[in-house]
Structure formats: structure tokens, C-alpha cells
């Protein structure tokens, strides 16, 4: 089921949470809403799910206006940031909840409910926890139960609010690969909110980058990373060095005020000056796993430049703290200031 969002606005008092959002979510895709906290991504998700109401604008599910359908009637599965599992119910009863509250004539018989709950628990690989209470589970387990509970009502759309936000790094990585695989199996149109660029780039089919209630860019993870549409996207996704045209006119190649954005791994170093290269002094050398990160200063006490080299590249030109080297960008993006 596709989702179309048209001219959506949301205000909280004087604060604009969403500013004229237009967005298309394709049927069956996994879409990430990515942005810093307070950018409106969670508000957007809650409005899609019917948990909040927009001030103006329209939302269509598969071409149908959902304005008059509240959260109950939207057939949307919602996974909450802190799971919101029913604390007084067992895992089994949590997952069965959506089936048990159906109107009498739509409700399944008990044996059918049992079968379906166990099927879902098997899907999230936690069938053995059916009799536990939520407080007896780890964070990752709770998240998977929350997902199973949301899937129980066979939603047409799945909405996930910071699904991995409260988990530690290792569990987070496992769980997001698992979510990707699960999505490939189920093909439910899914939207998830995250502030973690790595998560968005790794899991999503498409990424929507948001900032201060606006959509900054929509595109594939590759697109968003390689071709940022605005200075904000450039800075928010990945590390970046900034060079102002006033001081580095050579690179920006522009008359007016402009800023050049260069990723740390897009910088080459050499020991001898080359065409349009910049002399810098190495201040710090840190080897982190497969890469070596250098911090260098332009001129005396000048701006700091971050440079990232692969270990092999570093071994060809080994430099030490205090060395003078010459840097040159391989790729550069200029935005007017």
C-alpha cells in the first residue's frame, strides 16, 4: 500500500514541527526518515499512524484520503521507541491483543488465535518466551515482540519509531539486518524513524533527510551519501571538512561567498607540493581499525582538517605528528554561503 503526503503542516503552539511536507512512499518499500532530534520525523510518523492530527494537508493510503479514519481504523502497525509492551500481560497475550479486541464477528476462535500468535513468535524467533512477562526480556527481545504484536493484525503499513534507539551497538546491528531480511520476506510498506545515519543508509530502500520540519532530500542511500542536495545533508551524513571561499578561493572556484565541502576520505596527501595543493601540518595520527585518521592544521594555528586514509594508502606515505604534507581534494562540492 502506497502513502502519499500532500502539503502537510503541524504546529505545536509557535513551534513548526512540520513545514509543508510532500512525500511519496512506494508500496512495499522500506523508507527511513532521518534527521536530528526535533526535526519533525517522529511527528510525521505519528500523523501517518493517526496518533496525532495535522493542522493542514492531506494523507492518502493507496489513493484514499484517511482524514476521517482514526488510529484504530487505519490498519497501521506501530512499533514504539520504548516498545510500549503491555506490562501486565505475557508475551503471548501481548501478541494476541490485536486479535482479541477485534469486533465479535471478525474475531477468530481461540485455537486460531493460538496458531497465529505462535506463528508470529516463530517469525521473530522468540516462541520459547511466550509465557514470560515483558520485564523479563532483554531490550532486543522486547523490540522483536513489539514487532510481532504490530504484525498480528496484518497491517498494510508498518511504522517504526526509532526501532533500535534504546539498544546497545552490537544488538542494534544484528537487529537491523534482521529487520531488513524480515521486510524482504513480508514486503509490508514500512517507514522507520532514526537519527542514526548508518542505520538509515544500511537498512532503507530510500532515505528522507529532514531538518527543522522540512524535507531536505529524498533519495537512495547511495544518492544521499554521494550527492547531498544541501549543506545540511552534507554535514549530517558522514564527516565533512569545510573550506571557505575567502581563504581557499582556489578550490571553490567562485567569485562570491561560498563554502566547499570535502569528505575526509576524499582528500589525497603527498609529501611534495602539487597543483592546487594546500600545505598542512599533521597534528594527530590515529589508527582506527582499517583506516587511519589524520588531523592537520592549515598554516600556523589554522583550521583543522580531518583526513581519512586506508591503511594501505597510509603505509605508502607514512607521516608522523609535526610533518608538513600537501593535501588535495579528489571530490568537492561547493554551496553558496
Amino acid at each position: 500500500m502506497s502513502i502519499t503526503i500532500q502539503n502537510l503542516n503541524k504546529q505545536f503552539g509557535n513551534f513548526t514541527a512540520l513545514n509543508n511536507i510532500n512525500l511519496e512512499v512506494n508500496s512495499g518499500e522500506l523508507l527511513a526518515l532521518l534527521g536530528p532530534s526535533g526535526c519533525g520525523k517522529t511527528s510525521l510518523l505519528r500523523i501517518i499512524g493517526g496518533l496525532d492530527v495535522q493542522n493542514s494537508g492531506k494523507i492518502f493510503f493507496h489513493g484514499k484520503d484517511v482524514e476521517h479514519r482514526d488510529a484504530r481504523e487505519r490498519n497501521v502497525g506501530f512499533v514504539f521507541q520504548h516498545y510500549a509492551l503491555f506490562r501486565h500481560m505475557t508475551v503471548f497475550e501481548n501478541v494476541a491483543f490485536g486479535l482479541r479486541v477485534k469486533p465479535k464477528k471478525e474475531r477468530h476462535i481461540e485455537t486460531e488465535i493460538k496458531r497465529r500468535v505462535h506463528e508470529l513468535l516463530q517469525l521473530v524467533q522468540l516462541d520459547w518466551l511466550a509465557d514470560r512477562y515483558p520485564t523479563q526480556l532483554s531490550g532486543g527481545q522486547r523490540q522483536r515482540i513489539a514487532l510481532a504484536r504490530a504484525l498480528a493484525v496484518e497491517p498494510q503499513i508498518l511504522l517504526l519509531d526509532e526501532p533500535f534507539g534504546a539498544l546497545d551497538t552490537k544488538v542494534r546491528k544484528e537487529l537491523r539486518r534482521w529487520l531488513r531480511r524480515l521486510h524482504d520476506e513480508l514486503h509490508v510498506t514500512s517507514v522507520f524513524v532514526t537519527h542514526d545515519q548508518e542505520e538509515a543508509l544500511e537498512v532503507a530502500d530510500r532515505v528522507v533527510v529532514m531538518n527543522k520540519g522540512n524535507v531536505e532530500q529524498v533519495g537512495s542511500p547511495d544518492d544521499v551519501y554521494a550527492h547531498p542536495a544541501s549543506p545540511f545533508v552534507y554535514q549530517f551524513i558522514g564527516n565533512v571538512n569545510l573550506f571557505h571561499s575567502r581563504t581557499h578561493a582556489l578550490w571553490t572556484q567562485q567569485q562570491g561567498d561560498a563554502v566547499a565541502y570535502v569528505r575526509p576520505h576524499d582528500i589525497d596527501i603527498s609529501l611534495i607540493p602539487q597543483q592546487s595543493s594546500l600545505p598542512v601540518v599533521v597534528k594527530q595520527v590515529r589508527a582506527i581499525g582499517s583506516v587511519v585518521r589524520l588531523e592537520a592544521a592549515i598554516g600556523q594555528d589554522g583550521e583543522t582538517v580531518e583526513i581519512e586514509l586506508s591503511r594501505e594508502r597510509f603505509n605508502i606515505t607514512p607521516v608522523a605528528v609535526g610533518d608538513e604534507v600537501f593535501i588535495r581534494p579528489r571530490q568537492i562540492k561547493v554551496f553558496e554561503a
Binding site: 484504530r72 497501521v76 510500549a84 506490562r87 479486541v101 477485534k102 526480556l137 532483554s138 504484536r149 493484525v153
Partner: protein, 292 residues
């Protein structure tokens, strides 16, 4: 489990006091309790039973005593359910929704705690008494509130209405509305959400509030005294009946009836500690405790 090093080395831990200090503090606390709670409680039963069981039973079987017990039970039986409904509704509104005038509502709920019970009784007399604002209208329609049972029920409700709401508001605020939102997004109706999600989450807090509310409803003296008119066998509750007997120098009977209230207090305390234990037990299931 191994002891921390500080203990093994007999070194002082920042939050530990020496034996002498501990002993002094405990002694002070216990003697205080004994002086102000233990001795009076003992005295009630000692005086009541001082002349033997026969007189004790006789005092309790007096028709006026019975009528006082009956009236107390009626007042509590109306006030507690009324405040249960009001308390849950108010706490639900305050904890789960944002609306204008919320802080005013919270202040109003606290009002009976802030006002002296005698004053609350007087307010009702001023409103509904023969010379009160609505007095003439009530007389025309032959409705008697003041110096009658309805008045006693009304002031009892007034004096006890903060108990349940006050107990539930912080609890429901702490629980947030995530679970309710989850239930609704899973297709539950408002009533289904309330009965299946909200009520089970607050049941122990609710019971705790009911116990406290009931104890106060049965023990209230000041406000009830003002509106009751002290008509024997008609508008006397247990506390009022005790006062009358005492003023008549009928000490055995006074203490016998008073012992009922003391017993109620003991039962309340007992029930309260059981509920407290349950509440703690519920909250103590540790997030990562994989034990079963």
C-alpha cells in the same frame, strides 16, 4: 555474593553510622511511636475491656450504637464508590491529556486536604442549611440535607475525594500513554483500552487509594459533626457516637465503640502493607532479570 572490601576491612562506608548512633536513632523513633501511638491504642482496648466482656458486648449491642455503625457503613459505601469513579476519571484526564485548566483541576482536587474539615462542614451548612443559599428551595421541595443522612454522605464525599485521585495521578503520569496508544493502534476501542490496559496497570494503586479513602470516610469527625445535628439513633456516625458517650461519662461504652474504629485502623494498616508489598513486587521485576 562477596562483601565489598570496605566491610571486610572494617572501614567506614560513607552512608554507615556507628553502632551507638544507630541505636540512639532507633530508640528515639521507637519510643516516640510507643508514646504517641502504642500507648493510646493499648488504652482504648484496656478501657473498653476493663470491666469485662459482658459490658463490652452490651455497649456494642445498644440500638444507638448499631444505628451509628449502620450510618457509618452507609456513608462509606456511597462515598468510596463515588470517589472511585471520580478519582479514576480525574486521574485519567490529568495524566493522559493536555487541556486548559488542568492545573486548576489539580488544585481543586487538593482543596479538601487544605481546608479544615470543620470549615468544609460549615460550607455545606451555609449552602444547604435552613438559612443557607439553597435552604428555602430545598424546604419548598421537602428535601432535607443538613442534620440528615444525605448531608453526612455529602460531606464525607467532599472530605475524602482527594485520596484516590491523588494516589492515581502520579502513577498514571509515570506510566505515560504509550501502552494506550499501542492498544488503539492495534484496533482496541476506548473502553477496551481502559479495561484491558489502563485498569490492570493501576489496580494496586487504585486499591491502595480505596483503603485510605475508606479509612478516612469511616473515621471523619469534624465535617460530619457540623452537618449531623447529633440526633441519637438517626444522624450519629461512630466517631460522633463515641463523643456523646464520652461526654456522658459512659467511658466503657465510649471506649468499646471507639475500639471498633481502632480495629478498623489496624485492619487498614494490615491491608495497606499487603498492597504496598504487591505494588513493590510489581515494580521490582528487573528489565534483564531472566530468572523464573
Amino acid at each position: 555474593m562477596s562483601l565489598p572490601h570496605q566491610l571486610i576491612n572494617n572501614r567506614k562506608i560513607a552512608t554507615h553510622e556507628s553502632k551507638a548512633v544507630t541505636l540512639v536513632l532507633i530508640t528515639v523513633a521507637l519510643s516516640y511511636l510507643l508514646l504517641f501511638l502504642g500507648i493510646p491504642l493499648f488504652a482504648v482496648f484496656y478501657e473498653a475491656l476493663g470491666k469485662g466482656w459482658t459490658l463490652y458486648w452490651a455497649a456494642l449491642q445498644d440500638p444507638d450504637a448499631w444505628s451509628a455503625i449502620e450510618l457509618t457503613l452507609i456513608a462509606a459505601a456511597i462515598a468510596v464508590p463515588a470517589n472511585l469513579v471520580f478519582g479514576v476519571a480525574a486521574a485519567w484526564a490529568i495524566a493522559k491529556f493536555e487541556f486548559r485548566g488542568k492545573s486548576v483541576l489539580i488544585t481543586l482536587i487538593d482543596l479538601p486536604f487544605a481546608v479544615s474539615p470543620v470549615v468544609s462542614g460549615l460550607i455545606y451548612v451555609l449552602l444547604f442549611g435552613a438559612q443557607g443559599w439553597f435552604g428555602p428551595w430545598l424546604q419548598e421541595h421537602d428535601i432535607k440535607l443538613i442534620f440528615a443522612v444525605p448531608g453526612i454522605v455529602l460531606v464525607t464525599i467532599f472530605v475524602t475525594f482527594p485520596f484516590i485521585a491523588r494516589e492515581l495521578i502520579p502513577l498514571m503520569q509515570a506510566q505515560g500513554k504509550d501502552e494506550e496508544e499501542a492498544a488503539i493502534s492495534l484496533g482496541a476501542s476506548g473502553w477496551q483500552t481502559f479495561w484491558r490496559v489502563t485498569v490492570p496497570n493501576i489496580k494496586w494503586g487504585l486499591l491502595y487509594g480505596v483503603i485510605l479513602c475508606n479509612a478516612r470516610a469511616m473515621g471523619e469527625f469534624g465535617a460530619v459533626s457540623v452537618v449531623s445535628g447529633h440526633i441519637r439513633g438517626m444522624t450519629n456516625t461512630i466517631p460522633l457516637h463515641v463523643e456523646i458517650l464520652y461526654n456522658e461519662y459512659n467511658f466503657v461504652a465510649a471506649f468499646s465503640v471507639a475500639s471498633l474504629l481502632a480495629l478498623l485502623a489496624l485492619v487498614t494498616l494490615f491491608a495497606k502493607s499487603i498492597v504496598e508489598y504487591k505494588v513493590k513486587d510489581n515494580g521490582d521485576r528487573h528489565p534483564h532479570g531472566e530468572t523464573e
